[in-house]
């Protein structure tokens, strides 16, 4: 595989810029983070997703979430996988993924070193009484109303995954009828040193 940052030898998996220690613990905030984001650049070939997902299943690694989409280069796709680092040591997950021939590049991101985003669509009960409250709350979060029914609203909200969790919690009392979240995607935080 080729490598993020060219100084390491072939096959070497290098953390993406700003990557954390991989311990999964949050030294700064004290809150324990169980997940890491592994991003894979894969060849756009049939069956690649099956190979990646199959490897997780076979080796007993847990996937929290998964997002797949083509990159700006049509030969490649980007797979973002949120890995439960308590189910397996991260290095083992990365090393096994590295052995897949279609996986061209691997980066791993500690959540504290990443800008993460996720998209949510949610249909919530909203009758004449509660509708204005729901809309108001949506505005507070920066969510958008994308559909209006007789007694329900569908909202769209894109943000950091934790904000989505909060939003879900806030909406729950009104009666969530349907909810879908995409997998999490992430890019490394940018450095500010000149």
């Amino acid at each position: 595989m080729s490598v993020q940052g060219t100084s390491a030898g072939p096959g070497r998996v290098v953390p993406m810029p700003g990557s954390g220690s991989g311990s999964g613990s949050d030294a700064r905030g004290g809150r324990r983070l169980r997940h890491h984001v592994v991003t894979l650049l894969v060849e756009n070939k049939a069956g690649v997703l099956v190979r990646v997902a199959g490897l997780f299943a076979r080796r007993g690694f847990n996937i929290f979430s998964l997002a797949v989409a083509p990159t700006h280069d049509p030969r490649f796709s980007r797979i973002s996988i949120v890995v439960d680092v308590e189910s397996a040591p991260l290095q083992q997950v990365v090393d096994q993924l590295d052995k897949l021939v279609n996986v061209v590049e691997i980066g791993e991101l500690h959540p504290l070193a990443a800008r993460e985003a996720e998209l949510l669509l949610l249909t919530v009960s909203a009758d004449a009484v509660s509708r204005s409250q729901v809309i108001q709350l949506a505005e507070v979060f920066g969510a958008k109303v994308v559909d209006v029914g007789a007694d329900a609203l569908t909202l769209r909200f894109a943000s950091a995954p934790e904000a989505l969790d909060d939003f879900e919690e806030v909406m729950r009392p009104y009666g969530i009828r349907e909810l879908q979240r995409t997998g999490r995607i992430a890019l490394p935080k940018l450095g500010r040193e000149a």
Partner: protein, 586 residues
Amino acid sequence: MELTGAQSLIKSLEQQGVEVVFGLPGGAILPVYDPIIDSSIRHILVRHEQGAGHAAEGYAQATGRPGVAIVTSGPGATNVVTPLANAYMDSTPLVVVTGQVARSAIGSDAFQEVDITGITAGVTKHNWLVTDAADIPRVVAEAFHVATTGRPGPVLIDFPKDVANATTTWHEPGPIDLPGYSPPSSPDPAAIAAAADLLLAAERPVLYVGGGVLKAEASAALAELVELTGAPVVTTLMARGAFPDSDPRCLGMPGMHGNYTAVTAVQRSDVLVALGSRFDDRVTGKVDAFAPGAKVVHVDVDRAEIGKVRRPDVAVVADCRAAIEALVAVIRGRSGADAADPRRIAPWIALLDEWRQRFPLVYDAARDVPAGGSSLDGGPALKPQFVIEQLRDATPDDTVLVSGVGQHQMWATQFWAFDHPRTWVNSGGLGTMGFAVPAAIGAKVGRPDRTVWAVDGDGCFQMTAQELVTASAERIPVKIAILNNAYLGMVRQWQHMFYEERYSEVYLSPDLPDYVMWAEAMGCVGLRVTSPEEVRPAIDKANAIDDRPVVIDFRTDSMEQVYPMVPSGASNDDIVVHPSQQGLPR
């Protein structure tokens, strides 16, 4: 140049230097079998596709070259899944071509259709579904490249019938372009220096040699390293022959049925240098209690093996030969207090010698069995270990020994003396019963100059014996020693030791089937041996036959157990030695 996809495939195989393929035709692969008639490649027609896969493995293990098998779609393809899984576990380079239904029929549940690339994704290094005949030269070149480089392993090419029939033009495959695949090259000098520091400072070093040393053809480099440092060597089941058993610094095999000295040396080592070995559970026993005082150097071409089981103190991600040669060069360059000094380890070597004398591999003398007693005919029961020793002493030093899986396999690795690389062919990681007969055929095809003996169990033999028809038809004179104890012996041993001798579904009968008649029916010479004095003459007779396969039915003692044994999940410290040694001070 215009040609069919099938012709392109065969031409590509020829270009890869393939001299023999093992296979069995069928509907979807039919187009490929036509150009085989005109090819320089020898095709060996097996009787079951599993036999094709294992024969290709035997060929690969004995020669170091990739084994090739061609089978049809559907059941033909699923029948090679076991060999693929076996080769994946044992890192054997294998290229399997499967027929597939026409592209337009894929996904329609067509006759003899299976999703073989999906099924085998977890047991191959990689696989390819060819969707365009123009891709064939490139795919074949990639397949051989992936199978044979880095950590070797099996690959599969799925080949739809209409692609085989399509007309295409030949073009030479360009340079390999696999952006996601690049095996490690040279070892990191800093890691090599750190490994040298540890090894030279050790007082109780052990070189824990695995199959990676054989795959990397690193035996000569290893011999140099041992010469330089005096460090003792253990060779795992997959590495027997990588360092000669006849060398006094070779302690033999570690692990569940390893000998006391090899197991205990690893356990008490202060520096354990793992060379192409993977800390398999059959070697480590209880991982937490494995070699507790050892600093570990781990050399492996597969980065994912580093730290998978045991976190090393020094990791070297490289081909074993490159790594060992680099280590030798560094150690040679050291002088003064930093230099190798075998005197440092003299007390350790003396202790190992003491253990070796106190705990040699032993077995009971043949006991008398009353007429009609147990499964035997009466008279002294033939000890399986005795048969192996006789076979060892009556065959050339460079004989290739092949085995199946079970008690007979353990006795073979314990009591044989392996003095050359690639003289031991067996199924290690997957533990595939029935491996021996087809693998012996493949080994003999790859090494026609060598005597090839298979030591097999009666249970194993019944799984794949039909390939002896292949051997007879193709004049492949393999020799099979069945250690016929009338039981699924290893399972019986576990039921004896761990299930209060409640024997459940392990009895097979010594004479159903009649192995001699069966052998004769398959065109082999069949012999039967029931007493110790018949052993040597029968082996000599078998050795003299070179125009057909020979099968000897050795009626061995059903009650024999494999010792020593580390019970599953126990610490290697709790090794159970032979009953005659159990009171001895450790």
